[in-house]
Amino acid sequence: MIGFIIRRVLAMIPVLFLVALITFFMMKQAKGGPFDQEKEVAPSTIALLNRKFGLDKPAWLNSAEFSNRLSTEGNPFLALRGLFDSQFGNYLINAVQGDLGPTYASKGTETVQDKIKETFPISLRLGMISLAFALLVGFPLGILGALRQNTIFDYFSLIISTIGFSVPTFVTGLLLLLVMSKVFDVAPIKDPSVWQGFSTSYIPPAIILGLGTMAYITRLTRSSVLEVKRQDYIRTARAKGLGDRVVILRHILRNSLIPVITILGPAVAGLVTGSFIIESVFRVPGIGSEFIGAIGSRDYSMIMGSTLFFSLLVALGNIMVDLSYGLIDPRIRNS
């Protein structure tokens, strides 16, 4: 078990490196830099800023610095650091040490890790509530739909999940907000302190955020339960006289969990990293808007930092999923 975890964690390293490489490459293909704006900054100031943030260095490899150090020091191993004295090299070297660099939007006065530390707890709370919502509603709805197939319960479950799938969040979010405000007099502006720690203000955005996942879980659970229901061992269980309760809980549900758990890994990563639209409608100071804003403003370190952070979450989510397979299904544990 421990060997499995270590192997999986080590396997994350090349994955994250590839993600960094690809993101950096694509980012550099986009035109314009962080200090280009409609209202022009003096060229001398831009040069200062580029130097300050190391953007005056070559993007990938600094061969000039390499040959420079080679001639002054002579030791090719020490000179190698010079070769990686580039934007990408320095980024990786700092990132490994936990420094994800300054955000350019703040003119370098804030770091990416500070931004993540500030906003991620809020998104994490929101994501956890929406995951709970998605599971607590989606799972029972799916089971209900499968056990009472082609009845009114099944159609109800179908309608709910279709809405969850197909209506975009900017519609459902705004609709929910307006209904709350007009019908129930819930004011749209909350005091900022409500987001520090759990509060009821998280519930409406969490529902909207969890709608899609909820719908997906409902459909997946339904089809999975339907499939298990027709297995021979279910017939055996019934034949030997087990009651409905035991058959459903122990034999059907446990075996139909696997596909649902498989999607939970990436789903959790998606939920806890927030959504720009939902954060904007419900004014949640989460991490989603930081992600989106960074791309438009060519905030290089923020783009790199948030992509790596997201990849790390997805990778961790998948490890958790693999571990939980073992808990549910002994066959997987033994293989």
Binding site: A30, K31, G32, G33, D36, E38, K39, V41, A42, P43, S44, T45, L48, L49, K52, S106, K107, G108, T109, E110, E118, I159, I160, V167, T172, L174, L175, L176, L177, L178, V179, M180, S181, K182, F184, D185, V186, A187, P188, I189, K190, D191, P192, S193, V194, Q196, G197, S199, T200, S201, I203, P204, I207, S280, V281, R283, P285, S289, G296, S297
Partner: protein, 589 residues
């Protein structure tokens, strides 16, 4: 179809009702720590109470400062809707108006703007210059204090200048002080070369003979320097607090100790920024405080205004027709021209726009009235000149190149091309970041097609790509919309900074006119105000006539204001809230 939509809606309501009920109950019963509980209950009660009493000022209910004014809870707090949360509000590093509006509440420069956008005494009670207009001596008001009671001296202002010019700071607006002797040299000093750095710092043309006096010398005559001395880069943030807080000191309200009419009391990122009145300010404000409330979704902001949670609401252009026709909101909606100008910018060095007659044809072809009223919903006012109404140097007599299809056709016929079909391909670039831009540019393209018979190719680009293309004359789009947003209300900022042949903006469009340069130099360096305005006027006439840009419109400042707010002035520079430059005079009934 309708039935399906109805079932969807019903299903959604079924789904949401239980949680709504839970939510309402949750707001009313405090559950967690007392501090958080009072905070959550305040907005709810405030919203319910609007019908009967004045809304409770939830904004100042909790402040980070222990010295919160008891008066602040009486509800005399102006709640202002802001769209985008600013990236950095450090006086020497800020550059956007959403950042500057915050700083201008918290701090005050040597001078300030009055309700007519004239430069009047701020922290300095008077100033004088030598006969050449190259040395300015400012005398501070007696007994100036920061909001925390500590003394404010001329050294604090000298520090602001030094920090702006410092290459380590590298603020985006450092070049605005390059008129000050030694500032440009200091900014280009090599930081690692300590001797050079220190020498450049010492050579800065700023001295403080005593605590009340600051002397600033300039490279050449700069009669507009007193106006620059009131800008945000000159705000006296305290050196010791900046050092104490490090790079992100500005996020901490307790380190942003200011000398302005209000004082930061709480900074809640992406949510809300609160100010309380600065009791030590020489011209005590009437409001107890100001709350800037950040809502980027305009539908949410409108709903918050209707719920009585905002005093000032900035509608999105798409909401203007609905707001104007609304029985409640319509009478409360005001709009007036802002301190910005947009026009059709030509690349005057590429075909076909190197031919002035082609530029003339395009200028005559634009129906500015319809564009502003119909396409932009009244979000702008047509203009034919560069400096907007309400700013010194505005030319009310300008009437050239107004919409005239006949003259447009005639101009095209007189051009070297002779007719539309002989023109090379024309690309019209625009930023795709604002989704409303597509309709606006399609309208203009259609105008050129109908009036001139010219088929222009629309080219949507991400705004960063467009800015990158506009950085160089070689890649500058043939035509695109663009212009200027004022930094300070002096014709110098509008004309010399943009249109002098030495200015990067003019160079990018390939524009330069020696006669214009002559007028501008004369105006920039003259100490006589009348002479200056006359020379600027002549330069502006020439620029408009040369048509590097076909002037089109000024975007308006537009707000819905709760009738309980009074005492605000309206100036062209109010791009964040009405009366933002003289907020000390705003009152709430």
């Amino acid at each position: 179809m309708l039935k399906r939509r109805l079932t969807r809606l019903l299903a959604l309501l079924v789904l949401t009702v239980p949680t709504l009920a839970a939510c309402g109950a949750g707001d009313a019963t405090p559950t967690t720590a007392p501090a958080a509980a009072t905070a959550t209950t305040a907005p709810a009660t405030g919203a319910e109470a609007t019908a009967t009493t004045a809304p409770v000022a939830e904004a100042t209910a909790t402040t980070t400062e222990a010295t919160a004014e008891p008066a602040a809870t009486e509800g005399n707090v102006l709640r202002v809707h802001q769209v985008a949360y600013p990236d950095v509000f450090d006086p020497q590093k800020s550059s956007y108006s959403a950042e500057i509006v915050l700083l201008s509440q918290n701090y005050e420069g040597l001078t300030r703007l009055n309700d007519k956008l004239e430069t009047v005494p701020g922290a300095a009670e008077k100033w004088e210059s030598n006969a050449e207009g190259t040395v300015f001596t400012f005398t501070l008001r007696p007994d100036l204090k920061y909001s925390d009671g500590s003394a404010l001296t001329s050294k604090n202002f000298a520090y602001a200048i030094e920090r702006t010019c410092d290459p380590v700071t590298a603020g985006e607006y450092q070049s605005i002080l390059f008129d000050i002797t030694g500032c440009a040299d200091f900014a280009s000093a090599v930081v690692t070369d300590t001797a050079q750095y220190d020498a450049a710092k010492a050579a800065l043309g700023v001295s403080t003979p005593d605590d009340k006096t600051i002397v600033i010398s300039t490279v050449q005559a700069a009669p507009y320097l007193p106006t620059i001395a009131g800008l945000w880069v000159m705000y006296p943030a305290k050196a010791e607090l900046i050092e104490k807080g490090g790079e992100n000191w500005w996020k901490d309200a307790s380190l942003q100790v200011g000398n302005g009419p209000f004082q930061f009391s709480r900074i809640a990122e992406d949510q809300q920024i609160d100010f309380v009145r600065n009791e030590n300010y020489w011209n005590k404000a009437k409001l107890d405080g100001i709350s800037m409330i950040y809502i980027d979704d305009s539908s949410v902001a409108l709903e918050a205004y209707r719920q009585g949670q905002l005093d000032i609401f900035q509608p999105d252009p798409s909401q203007i027709p609905a707001v104007q026709s609304d029985a409640d909101l319509g009478p409360l909606y005001i709009s007036y021209p802002g301190a910005n100008t947009t026009g059709l910018q030509f690349n005057t060095t590429t075909e076909p726009f190197n031919d002035p007659k082609v530029r003339e044809a395009f200028a005559y072809a634009i129906d500015r009235e319809t564009f502003c009223e119909v396409i932009r919903n009244g979000d702008c006012l047509p203009t034919l000149t560069w400096i907007p109404q309400g700013i010194p140097g505005y030319d009310a007599t300008e009437d050239r190149f107004a919409f005239d299809p006949e003259k447009a056709k005639a101009a095209l016929a007189e051009s070297t091309y002779g007719s539309a079909d002989k023109l090379p391909e024309i690309t019209f670039a625009y930023s795709s970041n604002d989704t409303a831009n597509q309709a606006r540019h399609e309208f203009l393209a259609n105008t050129f097609r109908e009036v001139l018979g010219v088929e222009v190719k629309l080219q949507p680009l991400p705004s960063k790509d467009l800015s990158a293309a506009k950085k160089d004359n070689a890649t500058y789009p043939q035509i695109s919309l663009g212009g200027w947003i004022q930094d300070y209300p002096d014709a110098q900022n509008w004309l010399s900074v943009f249109w002098s042949s030495k200015a990067t903006f003019a160079q990018r469009q390939g524009y330069g006119n020696p006669v214009v340069d002559e007028f501008l130099t004369k105006a920039d360096t003259s100490t006589d105000e009348a002479t200056r305005l006359e020379a600027y006027g002549a330069a502006q006439k020439l620029i408009v006539g040369d048509l590097p840009t076909a002037m089109m419109y000024n975007r308006v400042n537009k707000y819905v204001i709760n009738p309980r707010v009074s005492g605000f002035s309206q100036t062209a520079a109010d791009d964040q809230f009405p009366g933002q430059w003289t907020s000390y005079s705003i009152e709430i009934k």
